[in-house]
Every structure is written in C-alpha cells, then in structure tokens.
Symmetry: C2
Subunit: 192 residues, 2 copies
DNA sequence: TCCCGAAGCTAATGATGTTAGCTTTACGGC
DNA sequence: GCCGTAAAGCTAACATCATTAGCTTCGGGA
C-alpha cells in the first residue's frame, strides 16, 4: 500500500478548505482524515490535535489576510485606501468563511508566532490610514473603528443578520463614507 | 428520592448562566445536567437536544437585549440615544458573553418565533435613530452601520483583538462621535 | 545493503449526545 | 382517602469524536 504523502502544510491546507465548506465549528478531524484518505490517528503525525490545528489555521489566516490586504491597498491613500481595504476584506471573508472565522481569534499569551502574525495584520490597517495624517491616539481609534465596522458587518452579513430590504453593498458604501467623513473632519481639525 | 423540579425555563436559564461562565462553545449537556443535579438524559424531558437548547438561548438573548436596550434609550434622541444604546449594548454583552454569542445568530428559515425576536431587536435600533429624521434607505444604512460597529467592537474586544496602548472606552467614544457626525451630516443634506 | 526514522495503522479509552424503555413520583378525579 | 395516569427522572445501550499507546512497514541515507 503506497503512502498518502501527507505533510503539516497539506493537512492544514485541506483543513482550511474543509472549514470553508462546512464551517469552522463543524470542522472535525474525522472528516479531515477521510478527505485525506487516511485514518484519523494518522493526522497526529502532522498536527498535534484539534486545538493545535485550530491555531495553525488562525496563523495561516492572518498571514494570508495580511498579504491580500496589503496588495489591495498598495499605492492608494485616504478614502481610496479605505474602500479598497474594505472590499478586499469582505471579498476574502466571503470566499474563505471558515478560515476567516479562524483568523479573528486572538493569540494566546506567550504565543509569539501568532502574536507576530496579528501585529502584521494590524500594521496593514495602520498603513492604509496613514494618508490621513492623524495623531497617534486618533490613528488607534480609527484603526479600531475600521476593524470593528468591517468585522461586525461581515459577521452579521454571513450570519444572515441583515434581513432588511436594501442592497448590502449600498449600506457598506454608506458606512465607509461615514468613516471617511469622520476621518477627514479629524484631519481638518488636527491641521487647522 | 425527591424530584429535582426542573422546567424548560429553569434548564434554559441555567444553560445561559453556564454559557456565560465557560463560553457558549464550551456549553455541554453533561455539565448542564451536573449543575442541575440530574442525569444527562433527563434534560431531554425539558429540552429537545443541544440544537434546540441553542435555539432557546438565541431567542432568550434577543428578548432580553430588546428589553434592556429599549429601556436604556427611552426618552433620548440622536447622539444621546446612540451613546446610551452603545453603552447598554456593550455592558450587557460583557456581563453575558455566552448569551450574547447566542443572541447574534440569525434565525433559520421558517422559524417564526426567532424571526419575531430578531425583528423586535432591530426595531429598537430603528427607534433609537428616529430622532435624526433620515429617509428610509439611509435609516437602514445607519442601523446596519451601528449594529456592525458595535457587534464588531464587542467581538474584537472580548476576543482580546485590541492589543494597542489606548483605553478601549476612548476609541469607542471616537467611533460613536464619528457615527454621530455622519448622521448629522446626512441630516443636514436631507433637510437642506 | 542495511537500518533507522517516520508514516500510517489497529486497538483501546474517555467524553459527549442521543434514543429506548423502565420506574416512580405527584397530582387530579372519583 | 384512594387510585390511575402523565410526566419526571433513571439505567442501559449506542454512535461519533478526540486522544494515546504501541505495532508494522515503507523508504531514503550511510
């Protein structure tokens, strides 16, 4: 009988694909093993159990998001950067719902690799807002607001929480306009 | 041996308390039964399994939130109403993290009771924003934005996703100011 | 060629959710 | 006050899942 030829990377990759299909909550080692054509305990040669697999997914998600969002916002600033970031964020989250769910988990204390991945992802948001010339405190406020708005919007959207009769794109556009308005106001105040 | 004297209400109530303590993801019928001083299968006399229990929690959460938020915003309007709503929202979510997590789940198609509870909760947000005199489409945009901003903020906050060196209250305040600014701007445009 | 490490397997264990069917309690009707 | 019945709670059994232990075998490097 030939070997399956697994590796940690392949196991995590298939786990991500499976999570996108059935939801992160329904990701199970049993289904993952079957998908890989292998018995369940064999997975332990590549991944140290379910909690460790979830952690791997979290880190992979953060790294991918960092890349995608950085590429989407490069060369843009202010409102353009915010819009490009928002659209990339939403598209990626909808294409990878399981991995996205893994990506919004906070690192555990002392987990340096996860902490680094998180910091890099937040850094992209900082960069996207750098064109507004905000002071330090306001920048943090704005980064938190943008992250919260997008995270909440996506969360409610994929959960089906928006039942009202109006296109979701339009409301997202209004939300981004509102943020741009607030940022420009702060910008003027700070420089005036 | 005397009876435990359970009821559906008591079971769901203890489930909510347990979920708040250990997290909704870690809520288990086994622990719930032990907490109630009863064997696990006995729970099935009052609740129709784990999925049904989660649904009960979802509905209970929406009803409670509707009451709390309505009471918090009564007699207030515009920025005051938005602030009061936001504070009540955040306080309640932090006091009831498990129940809150259950409360942000969308109803399943055809589940009239859950749909009604959801509609009532959204209605409170509409009422809170009524003082801005927005047109219908803008109202929907604003309701979605406010819900998304708060849901995202709470989600990131309880997940420990905000690692930066600035008080969380201050950033929330900035976010609410930004929204108020946007709403007042729209207000002026619409009436000017 | 040999050999050793890693890949994958079987077997066993414990936790959980679920169903079936039994016993017993408590309450309402007589 | 008694008695029958519906509901409450129980034991037993089973399926699924995660995890650990220990075995077998493949495959590349000395």
């Amino acid at each position: 009988m030939p070997r399956a030829g697994l590796s940690t990377g392949r196991v995590v990759g298939e786990a991500a694909a499976l999570a996108d299909e059935v939801g992160l909550d329904n990701l199970t080692l049993a289904a993952l093993a079957e998908r890989l054509g292998v018995r369940l305990p064999s997975l332990y040669k590549h991944v140290d159990g379910m909690p460790a697999l979830q952690r791997e997914l979290t880190i992979r998600a953060k790294l991918e998001m960092t890349n995608v969002f950085a590429r989407a916002t490069v060369g843009k600033s202010r409102g353009d950067a915010v819009r490009a970031f928002a659209i990339a964020y939403r598209d990626w989250a909808k294409q990878h719902p399981g991995l996205y769910a893994a990506g919004v988990r906070a690192p555990r204390d002392g987990d340096a690799e996860d902490q680094d991945a998180s910091a890099a992802a937040v850094e992209v948001v900082f960069d996207a807002l750098s064109g507004y010339d905000l002071d330090e405190a306001t920048t943090i406020d704005a980064v938190r607001t943008l992250r919260a708005a997008l995270h909440g919007y996506i969360g409610l959207e994929v959960a089906g929480g928006f039942g009202l009769d109006r296109p979701l794109d339009d409301s997202m556009e209004w939300m981004l306009d509102a943020l741009d308005t607030a940022l420009s106001r702060t910008d003027l105040e700070a420089s005036g």
